[in-house]
């Protein structure tokens, strides 16, 4: 500890012992903040105090000096606790920096380009509830009138989930075809995920392939929230259900696939459970509510519908989404 500090302390103490005013006390309070900034441990402050008293009022009973020595011993563990806290704060700061870096990497990884397909209007919104997104959306397009889209939800959040997404991406990139069939895509990624992740991490995924020429959607699901089909002609919603186990549970899982032909005004709504599992004070937000929201805006462009659903659900949940939100709408035009 510098002599300068010891000297200042002594002066401040002297003033206070002379006159116990608010002002003199305030000077001491400010000084203690400076001591903390300079990493001076509590036991050192007491040593300093003892030395200052000795200089200022040399003759005091021995019991006073002994009591200071005892107090110094008592404070040593407080000093250690303070050091520990400071090193935790530093670690926390480092973790935050790493988390930001990881989120940046994820953002790059998550980048996907909306395909341009004849007669199909696509709307997309994917918003993480926290820093890292547990939802994944990826388009595969060769500009040949076909496009594949994967909508996935990694169960298990945070960094491990983000790493898991890279497996999905590379699985799809390795197939490298917008013609690939859902049952094959899901089968390949299932084997990759099953080999690579621990027992409590899984992925649900909906995969569909769209053939623009025939306006035909072929879809399959690995334990994912069913997509919804809106038929403009009947003004009715129905679920596009396809049997299939979550990815990563069993290496021998097989995946069904089905097809549906779209007509003008039809909508296909693909999403994660962050859309359907919304809750507010009154309970769950039922699927019918989402149907109603979509129906209200069905004449609008797909992106407008998607944004409207998000805004309304956000309002209903007082702006507090508990889960990542991903919504894709295909609109046949």
């Amino acid at each position: 500890m510098s002599q300068e500090i010891e000297f200042q302390y002594k002066e401040i103490l002297k003033e206070y012992t002379k006159k116990q005013t608010e002002q003199n006390l305030y000077v001491g309070q400010n000084f203690s903040r400076q001591l903390i900034l300079e990493n001076i441990a509590p036991e050192e402050v007491i040593s300093m105090h003892k030395a200052a008293i000795q200089e200022l009022y040399g003759e005091l009973p021995d019991v006073v000096w002994h009591s200071f020595d005892f107090l110094i011993e008592m404070m040593i563990n407080y000093g250690l606790a303070l050091q520990e806290r400071q090193s935790l704060l530093k670690q926390q700061e480092e973790l935050k920096v790493e988390m930001d870096l990881a989120a940046n990497v994820q953002e790059t990884l998550l980048k996907t380009k909306l395909p341009i397909l004849e007669g199909l209007d696509i709307g997309l919104l994917s918003i993480p509830a926290r820093k890292m997104n547990g939802d994944y959306i990826y388009f595969v397009s060769d500009h040949d009138g076909y496009a594949g889209v994967a909508v996935a939800d990694v169960i298990g959040k945070g960094l491990p989930a983000a790493l898991c997404m890279s497996m999905i991406k590379f699985g799809m990139d390795s197939l490298n075809s917008s013609h690939a069939l859902p049952k094959d895509v899901l089968g390949v990624i299932n084997r990759i995920v099953e080999k690579s992740v621990d027992d409590s991490m899984f992925v649900s995924m909906f995969y569909s392939n769209y053939d623009a020429k025939q306006a035909r959607l072929t879809y399959g699901s690995a334990g994912h929230e069913p997509a919804i089909l809106y038929r403009a002609k009947d003004k009715e919603f129905s679920e596009l259900f396809a049997k299939g186990l979550l990815l990563g549970v069993s290496p021998v899982a097989v995946y069904e696939e089905h097809t549906v032909d779209l007509e003008k005004g039809d909508l296909v709504i693909m999403m994660t459970d962050g859309v359907t599992e919304g809750r507010n004070d009154e309970g769950f937000i039922e699927r019918e509510v989402i149907y109603e929201l979509i129906e209200r805006k069905k004449k609008e462009p797909a992106q407008t519908i998607v944004q409207y659903v998000y805004d309304e659900l956000e309002r209903m949940q007082s702006a507090q989404f508990q889960d990542d939100f991903t919504l894709v709408i295909y609109k046949k035009v």
């Binding site: 939800d153 169960i155 298990g156 959040k157 621990d198 027992d199 409590s200 991490m201 899984f202 649900s204 690995a222 334990g223 994912h224 929230e225 069913p226 049997k243 299939g244 186990l245 979550l246 549970v249 069993s250 899982a253 459970d273 599992e277 809750r279 769950f284 508990q322 889960d323």
Partner: protein, 109 residues
Amino acid sequence: MNIQVDLTESNNVLEGFVRGEIDAHTAPVLREKLETYQSHQGLKAELDLSDVNYMDSTGLGVFVAFYKSVNANGGHVKLKGLSARLKRLFDITGLGDIMDIESVGKGGN
């Protein structure tokens, strides 16, 4: 948001009651309690979920991990008392086909 997990084991038979909500906040509690038993050889586990009023995919993950581990050790897991909402979750994820589940109103009571 809260959860209550009561597990009692005797002669390698594990009886459990779970109450409350199983989500990202409460799932670690359930996972930790189940992990105590999952490596027992030939464990027969029966978990009653009739008082679980909410479960999300994180909760599902806990049950699947438990199921995989118990199965790998020659045991069996049964989940019973599933509400319609929970049953749907197991059906959508395909887990209903591989796990032994029983919804409210069927069998048992």
